[in-house]
Symmetry: C2
Subunit: 500 residues, 2 copies
């Protein structure tokens, strides 16, 4: 096996090897033919244009599999089988020691699953993907980035990629990896705008499978880069919402309320990016459609990531893709869920609040936990059932708990990678005391039930339900009518017959 591998590097030995192996058996001849074909292809590969997405290592991998499948004792003369009845290929060495062998088969996890790559500035890039979790816990995988220009007079340049693991402690078979590649020695990558390809060289660093996969992750066609984008303070949007992976049997009515509420809340210069991991089924799509048509909502279908078993539908990868994809298009970027409703004090507007937070790269947002099962029947039972969820789910959980989850917003140009509850990879200040300026109301468990949410109606300002204390909190309820009116005025009555 070792001999066969060397051959790859040194074709001079080819004839000798052919002689040795050819004499061996008819079976090996066929294997060798296959090897020869693959080696020829591997040799030809570098001459194929770099936009071609099949990497040399793909061939090498196959070749190594072929060669490892040849029994290891083919080049020794005889094998003495030890006292045991096993006919394994173990050999007895001259000193009497039994040399044991171990042969790997198949593949249980990819080295790298590529989702996307984006420019992070004039001379930097971010690559977003998944990688084998234990490889990162126990191994020493490393990354290198190479820029290959379309201009043949330009030499390829390369830099060390620094990996950011955003879901440390959470991965399953896969973990999310953001690779930051900054070419710090030069003022710009692709300065003549002649186009080129960014290649990520991902090395397992594993003594067993120390292979490097070379992955073309981003191609810039000639004249396609607008370098001004990375130095400009003018942004397409003021506020962009990056949603996490949506999955399960979501309620169309709850999503209808959420999107109408927030389109109104954030105003004209905002945009919503939702990620469909199976949750945006046909009826949910119908309530989003009017907003898509108005250009207020973009849906990414990320169902294909389900093939890769990471943490919660690979949500860490998804939010990082969103961060880097829209990083230069918005001043602020918000990360929270579709069962959560942002709110600023009545005397404020979202823009007055955000202006007051401008010195921070990030701020976290305090949670107001709302019941998703008990309702306020101030309008009488019959009228209550016709109300929107946010109008009737008006009881707030006031049980004391040590700590509640927070959500957050960032000025994305200062952020290198992000998480679900906050970013830990950014430059600039983070503010954790914005509760007097902005909060979010969380209707936990409301969005994945397809039925009228009210289980019990109450009229009191304080109730105890299932041993938990609640108080009436009409903060969001009070905006209900305005949101309904806004929806009707903006997209008409298309959604009037939306179901729970």
């Amino acid at each position: 096996m070792a001999m066969v591998k060397e051959k790859e590097q040194n074709t001079k030995d080819k004839k000798l090897l052919v002689g040795v192996i050819w004499n061996f058996s008819a079976e090996l001849k066929l294997t060798f033919m296959a090897l020869l074909v693959l080696c020829t292809l591997a040799t030809l590969l570098p001459f194929i244009p770099s936009s071609f997405s099949l990497s040399t290592s793909d061939f090498r991998f196959c070749i190594s599999r072929f060669s490892s499948a040849i029994p290891v004792n083919t080049t020794t003369t005889t094998t003495t089988v030890e006292e045991s009845s096993s006919s394994s290929p173990d050999r007895v060495l001259d000193n009497g020691v039994i040399k044991r062998t171990f042969t790997g088969y198949g593949s249980a996890a990819y080295n790298f699953v590529s989702m996307s790559a984006y420019r992070g500035g004039v001379n930097s890039f971010a690559v977003i993907g998944l990688s084998s979790k234990p490889l990162h816990v126990y191994g020493h995988p490393s990354y290198r980035c190479e820029w290959v220009s379309f201009d043949p007079t330009q030499d390829p340049i390369s830099t060390t990629g620094s990996k950011i693991l955003t879901d440390w402690g959470y991965g399953r078979i896969y973990t999310t990896v953001v690779v930051n590649c900054t070419f710090s020695s030069i003022s710009a990558v692709n300065p003549q705008n002649s186009g080129g390809t960014l290649i990520l060289h991902a090395t397992t660093g594993d003594p067993n499978l120390n292979l490097t996969d070379s992955i073309p992750v981003l191609t810039e066609s000639p004249k396609s880069v607008d370098f001004n984008l990375y130095n400009s303070t003018k942004k397409k949007y003021d506020y962009l919402y990056c949603g996490s992976s949506l999955y399960g049997n979501l309620s169309p009515q709850r999503i209808r309320e959420w999107i109408a509420y927030h389109v109104r809340f954030f105003g004209e210069r905002s945009h919503f990016v939702l990620h469909d991991a199976g949750g945006i089924h046909e009826e949910v799509f119908e309530v989003l459609k009017p907003w898509i048509e108005l250009g207020r909502v973009t849906i990414h279908d990320i169902r294909d990531q389900e093939r890769f078993d990471g943490y919660y539908h690979n949500q860490f990868m998804i939010v990082n893709d969103c961060l880097h994809r829209y990083r230069f298009m918005t001043k602020w970027m918000f990360f929270f869920d579709v069962d959560e409703f942002l709110h600023v004090p009545v005397k404020e507007t979202v823009s007055s609040v955000m202006e007051s937070l401008e010195e921070y790269s990030q701020f976290t947002i305090e949670q107001m936990p709302m019941s998703s099962r008990i309702c306020y029947s101030g309008d009488g039972p019959a009228r209550t059932y016709r109300k929107w969820g946010i109008e009737k789910l008006a009881y707030r959980d006031v049980k004391k708990v040590p700590r509640r989850d927070r959500k957050y917003a960032v000025q994305p140009e200062n952020v290198f990678a992000t998480g679900v509850h906050m970013s830990q990879n950014l430059q600039g200040k983070t503010y954790h005391k914005a509760e007097s300026k902005i909060r979010y109301f969380h209707y936990h468990g409301s969005i994945s039930q397809r039925r009228e949410p009210c289980r019990h109606l109450f009229n009191d300002s304080r109730v105890v339900f299932e041993n938990s204390p609640y108080v009436l909190d009409t903060t969001i309820r009070d905006v209900g009518l305005a949101v309904r009116t806004f929806e009707l005025r903006t997209i008409g009555d298309r959604l009037l017959r939306t179901r729970q």
Copy 2:
């Protein structure tokens, strides 16, 4: 990609496909050529004799890698690039949704690493190896065994393999798997002794990489099986020692003492199997050599398993290989370490003790913790330094602790898989109260220091050293002279100049 895969199964579509893809680009032509060659080979493969160890799935794997490397948009007409500057192959669907793609590259862990397979009886086998740890924690890998007879008139038979995970909770990138394959519907596998091959079909069960690797794990040549072995009560040995993985810079003198002590302890009808994971360096080999030459010791060189990152040099795999390899050759099998010394009361012999434990399939052995740094100088300092370690390291740690590790012995025919401190996969009774019959003295930390072990000499029967209480315990010391004499009488003075 899906089309290319279907083609594998249905060659009728071949021409249509060629037409579609051939028009596309010059790059694809080359890829397709490679595919064609691989497919042809894959088609030929079933006609190759089954002893040939390259499985169909190896080809399939390569083919799937080739086809996945073809950009997914080759069969759609155009791809609209979204507002972002990324030139990823994401498509905008008719409904405005952006379809995101995820492409896996390389391999971070094998599906199965095969070490060995042994008969477990007339109609059963055990296969020992490693498999990806997160695959077993989060996925649903499964195993099937197939027996393919050399006699062409015999149809292959197959059975479900039941996997035993012996190091649950301990693995790293890899975990140890013992697959038990019992063909319960028949009285014997290979009944005419015409020979054949056992193939392990290992399926990842992963929606992402649901491939089956077909691994020939054991070949029986015609007339090679002695079926009487599996029904006989006559064994080659009474006692067989299965050592765990030996690694690090071990002390030759400590190993010299250990092997001489235990060859004497177990007597003529015993054998020692040691596993070299790097610990049996040249000087250690020298002290074992006389015993190897006498046929008392067998060394397995298992250094190659270091390539696979499992728990502590894959010791769980190693002890299971030893269990199954020697299962029908010995009445009792012992599992403990080379810094541990077994002892039975002076009035007993090992055989009288073992006879009294015969009704148990397994018994565990209590630990006597000995200091590896403070020595008894009853012979005076000058003579003390010339003594063996077991003669001078005579102080026992009497600190109260909730529980000390145990070691164990089994009657291996009743055991299906084993661990390091005991087996949890066996039939029959386990006995935990053998402390009056047999114990082990543990000189923790003594074997991997290459210097005189005594740091301090004492004469008292009770001492306190570094805040821990010790008592003088001469149990092993008292046997010292007898062991030295035994060694000299059995192998001569070859080891007199052994160094620490």
